[in-house]
């Protein structure tokens, strides 16, 4: 059961990564990348690394996404 949950998360990880790479829309790609980070965060938590999980959620899904969105907004005027 535990292993199965990891496998599901890993599968989601690969799917979101492919979706980011294939996305034509930059803002959409940034949001998908946040979803990738959140999936990775769940995986860290489930593997017993809560410190890394919290960092992944705060930095990976939070600040990085906001900075990406700002850069996209500034460069596509």
């Amino acid at each position: 059961m535990n292993e199965l949950f990891d496998l599901v998360l890993l599968g989601l990880l690969v799917l979101t990564a492919l979706a980011v790479a294939r996305s034509r829309d930059l803002a959409g790609a940034a949001i998908l990348f946040a979803a990738y980070s959140l999936t990775l965060c769940l995986l860290w938590q489930h593997r017993g690394a809560p410190d890394v999980a919290l960092t992944e959620a705060a930095v990976g899904a939070g600040v990085t996404t906001f900075l990406f969105l700002v850069v996209i907004a500034r460069t596509s005027e």
């Binding site: 410190d51 919290l54 960092t55 705060a58 600040v63 906001f66 900075l67 907004a73």
Partner: protein
């Protein structure tokens, strides 16, 4: 052609990596090196009821963490130097009422959680950098939704130069205090529990608030 080259390269890199991972010891098995080498020493020597990860970050490898804090500070300085001033600011966006309401609603809870993560960081998962990212994300979120002026309103103007250096400064203070009380720079006095606790919380607060200010200023440097 380019795509095939990239695919071949990715495959060529990932096959050895996957093979190497398959050769790793089983996850959690007690006889692998990380469980038999220094980890045991850390676990036995750590104070009770402490978060081992933070203990290692702030105590055993405090000098490393000090260096990392200085690197983040240097990144902000570099961006501020590179970024020319006087560009026209973007017009303030007009958020949809729903988005505006939700951001206003979650802002205080967001801030409370960030300080919870910072202040309990030395005993529970979390700590300065995570709290800094949450606080900084809060400022960035408000800036994106309500415009950079709103984000700037979160930062105290006069204390700003000191706050953005809060991480390195707090570490420096802890290093000197540790030097006086234990004879080692960045040593934490185990015989003075109150001071020990205060130093840990002080360093976490410094990293947390300093980091949040740095994240916010990186954003503002891009925005205006």
């Amino acid at each position: 052609m380019k795509g095939r080259l990239a695919a071949a390269f990715a495959t060529g890199v990932s096959i050895p990596m996957i093979a190497a991972m398959a050769a790793l010891p089983r996850h959690g098995s007690p006889d692998q090196p990380i469980h038999t080498h220094v980890a045991r020493h850390y676990i036995e020597q750590a104070p009770e009821s402490a978060n081992l990860v933070t203990q290692v970050l702030l105590d055993y490898r405090g000098m490393d963490t000090f260096g990392e804090v200085v690197v983040i500070f240097a990144a902000l300085v570099a961006v501020l130097v590179l970024r020319a001033r006087g560009e026209r600011p973007l017009p303030a966006p007009s958020p949809s009422p729903i988005v505006g309401f939700i951001v206003r609603l979650v802002t205080p809870f967001f801030a409370l959680f960030a300080f919870h993560v910072i202040l309990t960081g030395h005993e529970a998962p979390g700590g300065g950098l995570q709290g800094a990212a949450i606080l900084g994300g809060l400022v960035l979120m408000n800036g994106i939704v309500f415009g950079p002026e709103r984000a700037r309103a979160f930062l105290p103007t006069r204390a700003l130069p000191w706050l953005q250096g809060a991480g390195p400064l707090a570490f420096l203070a802890a290093g000197i205090l540790g030097g006086i009380t234990t004879g080692f720079a960045l040593g934490y006095p185990a015989h003075l529990p109150v001071l020990h606790e205060a130093m840990l919380v002080g360093v976490e607060l410094g990293i947390g608030i300093g980091g949040a200010v740095i994240f916010s200023r990186l954003y503002l440097a891009m925005e205006a």
